[in-house]
Structure formats: C-alpha cells, structure tokens
C-alpha cells in the first residue's frame, strides 16, 4: 500500500543534500510552506539555489534561511520589498547571487520543466534589460525571447488537504505556484492542513494529482 505521508516536517526534509535547487511556493503569506522552510533551516543543507517569487520578508522563513548563509543563489521576480532587509544586505555585499525573472516567465519556465518543453519563445521581457544576452526572434512581427525550463531537486509547497496518494487541493490564492512547482521538482514535499482518506477528494476537483507529490506532512491549522 502506497502512502506518501511522513510523520513530521523533519522527516519531510530528510536527506536534502548541499547544493540542491529548491523551489518554495507561496505568494506573500498565501501558500507559504512555513513549517517546511523552518524544517529546512533545521535540516542544515547549504549552498542552496532557491526559486521563489520573492527573496524573504522580515527575519523569519526564507529570510532566516538567507540570514543563516545557506543560499548561494536566488531566482525570483520581486526581491526588493519594504522588509527584504536580509536579502538586500547579502546582495549589496555580494554574498548572494540574484537571477531576476519576470513573474510570468518564472511561472512558465517552471511549467516548461514540468511539461517536458525544451525551451519556449515568450514576448515578456523582449527589448528589456532582463532579455540581455538571450536569444530573440521575431514571430508574426512580434519580438520574443527564448527561455529555458527551470527544474528543481525539491519543491516545498503548501496545500489544504492531501490523501495518502499525494493528491492535493489548495485554498483560494494559496494555490499560486504550488501545482507547477510540485510538477517541476524531482521530490515535491507538501505541507497540508489535513490528510483525508483516499476518495474524500473529488476526482474532478483534485488540482495536483499524486504523481507529482513525493512526501506529505500534515501540520494542522498552524499551516
């Protein structure tokens, strides 16, 4: 009998090696896998490449991971915010690399990795600083930039409910990057509020089929 349920965030993060590329879901607080990020901090892997929409807020979560000097490089769309002081300081002192990607290209590169697309031409970013050095092409009279898939070793995401096969449903705008990051990572780890019995999730309504999920941990309403 297959069960992807693990007993704790610690167990969920077991075995993450140094140098891993890790996608972290969430947009603002919505969909942010806070317990998994804390477990990653405790777990100790370093020299990480992180993919997230932002680059940490305040002093907790992703910002705390950065502050612990565990991240070599961050790939994101919107690092600078009012409370991104940890990232800002590391960036200004040259202690972290930044790859800035327009948000839709970030999403689509993750989706391309999930979907086995080798590369794609997108109009987003054409003619801007963020396309410098990239291959471009006019298609139907419009400028496009060639972008490549973004894969990860791990994805840490947050969903609402899961079953033992790893099927997931999300809650409101907490869905955001979860489904595509899960599918783009070799090992997708989901923290959920509840684990339910197989069959309690309506097959019409499952957003992430279990094929994309390797480990699930229930964290209760703390999530």
């Amino acid at each position: 009998m297959i069960s992807k349920i693990v007993p704790s965030p610690e167990a969920a993060l077991a075995g993450v090696p140094d140098g891993s590329t890790i996608m972290i879901g969430g947009f603002g607080g919505a969909g942010q896998p806070a317990q998994l990020i804390d477990a990653l901090i405790d777990q100790g892997a370093r020299d990480l490449v992180i993919v997230n929409n932002n680059a940490g807020n305040g002093e907790t979560g992703l910002a705390a991971l950065l502050k612990a000097r565990r991240v070599r490089r961050i790939i994101c769309s919107f690092p600078r915010q009012a409370d991104s002081q940890v990232f800002d300081a590391l960036y200004r002192s040259g202690e972290i690399e930044l790859e800035l990607v327009p948000q839709g290209n970030l999403s689509e590169r993750i989706r391309a990795a999930a979907a086995g697309i080798g590369a794609f031409f997108t109009p987003t970013g054409y003619g801007t600083l963020l396309a410098e050095g990239k291959e471009t092409r006019m298609i139907d009279g419009r400028g496009h930039v060639l972008e490549y898939p973004l894969r990860a070793d791990y994805a840490l995401i947050k969903a609402l409910r899961a079953d033992r096969w790893g099927n997931l449903v999300y809650r409101k705008t907490g869905r955001n990057f979860g489904p595509t990051m899960a599918a783009a990572a070799a090992c997708a780890i989901a923290q959920v509020r509840d684990v339910v019995e197989l069959g309690e999730l309506d097959p019409e309504v499952i957003v992430t089929p279990g094929i994309y999920v390797q480990r699930v941990v229930a964290v209760g309403s703390a999530a």
């Binding site: 327009p102 839709g104 290209n105 999300y170």
Partner: protein, 214 residues
C-alpha cells in the same frame, strides 16, 4: 485633477463586461470608481478572476490576497487558478485592459515602470513585464510631470524599459493621450488647459483632438 479624479476618469472608459487588471499603486484606486451598474471582471495575477473589494476589518483571509498582497474578497462567480494559468491568461491576450503606473512613457508607447536604473538599486520586476505585453489594451495612469516638473511623457525613455511599444493610452492629471502610429493624439484635456500649454509641459509633439469620441 487629483488622484481620485484621475482614477474616476480611467474608470469611465472601462466598459461593462471588460476583463481588467489594475496594477499595484495608483491604478488600484480605479476599482473604487468603477460604475456600480456595470459588471466588470477584475483579475489579479496571483490567481483570481472576479476580485471584489477589500474585506470588512476583521474578515481578512490570509489565503485571499491580491497581487499587492493586500486582503481582498472574491465576487460571486469568481474563480481561483494557479500562477502559470494566471500568467497564461495575461500573456495570451485575454484581458481587455490593464492599467499600469509608469515612470515614463515614450511617444512610441515604450513603457518604463519597474526600475530607476540607479546603480545601487536592487531591481524587482514582478508581473509588470507580463502585463505590459499581455493585455489587449494597456492604459498607463500617472502624474503628467515628475516632482521636479519634468514630463514623464518622453521622446525616448531614459529609464530601463518594461516593454516596447506596448502602451495604448496614457491617462494623466492633465490629459488623456492615445498612442498612434502618427504620434500621441489628445483624446481629452482638463478644463482650462490650452493645447499650447499642454504641448509645452509635455515637451513632445502632440496631435490635436480630432472629434468627440463618445
């Protein structure tokens, strides 16, 4: 024209049934001025369509926020989707209108709104470039002049671009201008402002109002 008047002016041009994304900052104000008798569908790039107004104090839901990370509500009939689907909706030309703030817009419709280009600035782009290229019509909404009195409408942007030739219309506190192949055409001006004065303040050639558009 103050910020709310400007927001009301933009709102007046959004027709019933339009699918619209309102950018972070000044454009957000447009939502407050949409005519109540029109059904207009607001999109937020973090994954919702049919965005409603801010919740009552105390009724905020941390899982229901907009692209500016502010708590919002969902209208009856709205829907949630994931980020890649949301940006596909934007990039695929399905939004009728997006309204964006700007540092500068050029006469060709080039947009600069994400980066000052200052050497020590930490850049952040978010969804700005996707909105610029994706919507059927891109409206820019901004002060006509900088705080030091320079025109934000320019022959050529000095700030790094967000998108090339992507702006369709510019709403400022002084005028409404349409980007056309011939140049910027005046669609509307505030009362009491003359064409010569507007042209002087703007510093680029302007084509006069052709005829009333409504």
């Amino acid at each position: 024209m103050n910020r709310d008047q400007l927001a009301a002016r933009v709102a007046r041009d959004i027709p019933e049934g339009a699918y619209v994304n309102l950018g972070i900052g000044l454009p957000t104000l447009v939502a407050n001025h949409l005519p109540k008798d029109r059904e207009i569908f607001l999109h937020s790039e973090n994954g919702l369509l049919g965005m409603g107004p801010a919740p009552e104090p105390g009724a905020e839901d941390p899982d229901l926020i907009n692209a500016g990370k502010q708590p919002v509500t969902l209208l009856t009939g709205g829907a949630y989707f994931h980020h890649a689907d949301s940006f596909a909706m934007m990039r695929g030309g399905h939004l009728d209108i997006c309204v964006l703030g700007a540092f500068q817009v050029s006469v060709q419709g080039d947009l600069a709104n994400w980066h000052t280009g200052a050497p020590d600035a930490i850049p952040a782009v978010g969804g700005a470039m996707d909105l610029a290229v994706g919507a059927r019509q891109v409206f820019v909404m901004m002060e006509h002049l900088t705080k030091t009195g320079e025109s934000k409408i320019v022959q050529r942007c000095s700030y790094p671009l967000t998108g090339v030739a992507c702006v369709d219309r510019i709403y400022t506190d002084l005028a409404v201008l349409q980007v056309t192949p011939e140049g910027l055409r005046i669609l509307d001006m505030i009362d009491g402002l003359g064409l010569a004065e507007l042209a002087r303040l703007t510093g680029v050639p302007l084509l006069p109002l052709l005829a009333p558009i409504h």
